[in-house]
Subunit: 208 residues, 2 copies
C-alpha cells in the first residue's frame, strides 16, 4: 500500500529533524520534503505533491494561517495539519476556517502524530486532546450579533474610530462616565472582556 506522502514545514531545522526521526519508523508515512519558510513551503509542495502537510503556524515570512489558506486553495486534495505550541482558541478556529484538517501540538507523541496523519489522510479531522478540550469550553461570545441600542451602535462606531472615552464624551456631549457605562454594556452584550475582542467581533458581524 502506498505510504502517505508528507511535507514538514517549520522554521526550526532541529524540530524538522526531530519530526523526521519520529516519523521514520512508520512504514505507512513517507516524508518527501521539508521547508523552513512559507516561500519554501509553496515550492516544496508544488515539487513533491504531498498528501499531508504538517504546517507550523508561526513562520518567519508569512502567517501560517495565510499559508494554510493558499495551500488548500491551490491543492484542494491536500490535508493540512496545523502544528504549534499555541493553545489559543482563536488560532484554532481561524486555521479551521482556512481549510486546515487538524491541529496538533508540538509536544505530541509519535503515536499521536501517526494517528493525526492517518485520520486526515482518510478525510477526517484530527485534534489533540488539549485542543478538543479548548474547543469544548463554553463559548464566551454569542453566536449571533447582539441587538444593540442606537446609542450603543453609535458608541461602537466611535470606539472603532479610535476615540477614547473622553473624546467620545466630547463628541456626543455627555459625561465620560456615561460612555464608560455604554462600553461596559457593549462588552457584556458581546460577551467579551476587552476592546480588542469587541472590535474583532463587531467587524465579523459587519457592525462597523
Amino acid at each position: 500500500m502506498t505510504p502517505i506522502r508528507v511535507v514538514l514545514v517549520d522554521d526550526h531545522r532541529m524540530l524538522l529533524a526531530g519530526l523526521q526521526t519520529l516519523l521514520q519508523p512508520l512504514d505507512f508515512v513517507s516524508v518527501v520534503g521539508t521547508a523552513t519558510s512559507a516561500a519554501e513551503a509553496y515550492a516544496t509542495v508544488a515539487a513533491h505533491q504531498p498528501d499531508v502537510v504538517l504546517l507550523d503556524i508561526n513562520l518567519p515570512d508569512q502567517s501560517g494561517v495565510d499559508v494554510c489558506r493558499q495551500l488548500t486553495e491551490t491543492h484542494p486534495n491536500l490535508k493540512v495539519l496545523a502544528l504549534t505550541t499555541l493553545q489559543e482558541k482563536s488560532y484554532v478556529t481561524r486555521m479551521m476556517q482556512e481549510g486546515a484538517a487538524g491541529y496538533v501540538l508540538k509536544n505530541a507523541s509519535p503515536e499521536e502524530l501517526a494517528e493525526a496523519i492517518t485520520r486526515v489522510q482518510a478525510g477526517k479531522k484530527y485534534f489533540s486532546d488539549e485542543i478538543q478540550e479548548l474547543l469544548l469550553q463554553p463559548e464566551p461570545t454569542p453566536a449571533v450579533r447582539p441587538l444593540l441600542t442606537r446609542r450603543e451602535r453609535e458608541v461602537l462606531g466611535l470606539i472603532a474610530g479610535g476615540l477614547t472615552s473622553q473624546e467620545m464624551a466630547q463628541q456626543l456631549f455627555v459625561s465620560a462616565l456615561t460612555i464608560e457605562t455604554h462600553r461596559r454594556n457593549l462588552l457584556t452584550k458581546f460577551g467579551v472582556h476587552n476592546t480588542a475582542m469587541l472590535i474583532r467581533l463587531a467587524a465579523e458581524y459587519q457592525l462597523l
Copy 2:
C-alpha cells in the same frame, strides 16, 4: 422644470419640521415624504420614489450606515445625503463606502442644504466645509497593510483573541514587558494609538 423630489429621514419630528421649513421656499425642491425610523424610511422611499434622501446617521432601529447601503442597493439612482452632528472621519468614510453622495452637518444653512441637494442630484459629491477639512487632515493610517515580523503577527493574533499582555506573555513564555514592546511596535506600524483601531485595521487588511 421638475423639482427635485426629497425624502427626509430623522427620528426627531422637530428637526424634520425645521428642515421642511428651511426647504419650503426652494421652488426647485419638493419634500415628498418624511420618516422617523429606518423601517419607515424604506417604506417612504418605496412609496414616493425620491431623487434625494437626507438621512440621519443615527436612527433608533438601525444604523444609518446600513440604511444607506440598503437604499442605494435597491434604488441605484437615489442620492443619499448623510445628515448628522458627528464630525467623525470614520463615519464619513464608511458612509461614502456604503454609497452616500454627500455629508452635511445638522447646523447647515438653507443655502448649504440647497447646494448639497442640487449637487448630488447632478451626480456630484457634496461635503460641508467642516467635513472637507476633516477629510483633508493627514491620514494617520497607512494606505497599505504594514509589513509585520513573525512575532508581531503572532502577538496581533493574540490581541485579537482578547488576551491581555500578561496572558500573552504566559502563552509565549516571555516577559509581559516584551509583549508591551511588541504592542507598541504594532501601534506604530499601523499608525494608530489604541487597540480598537489596530484590530479594526487588521480586520480590514485581513490580517486576522
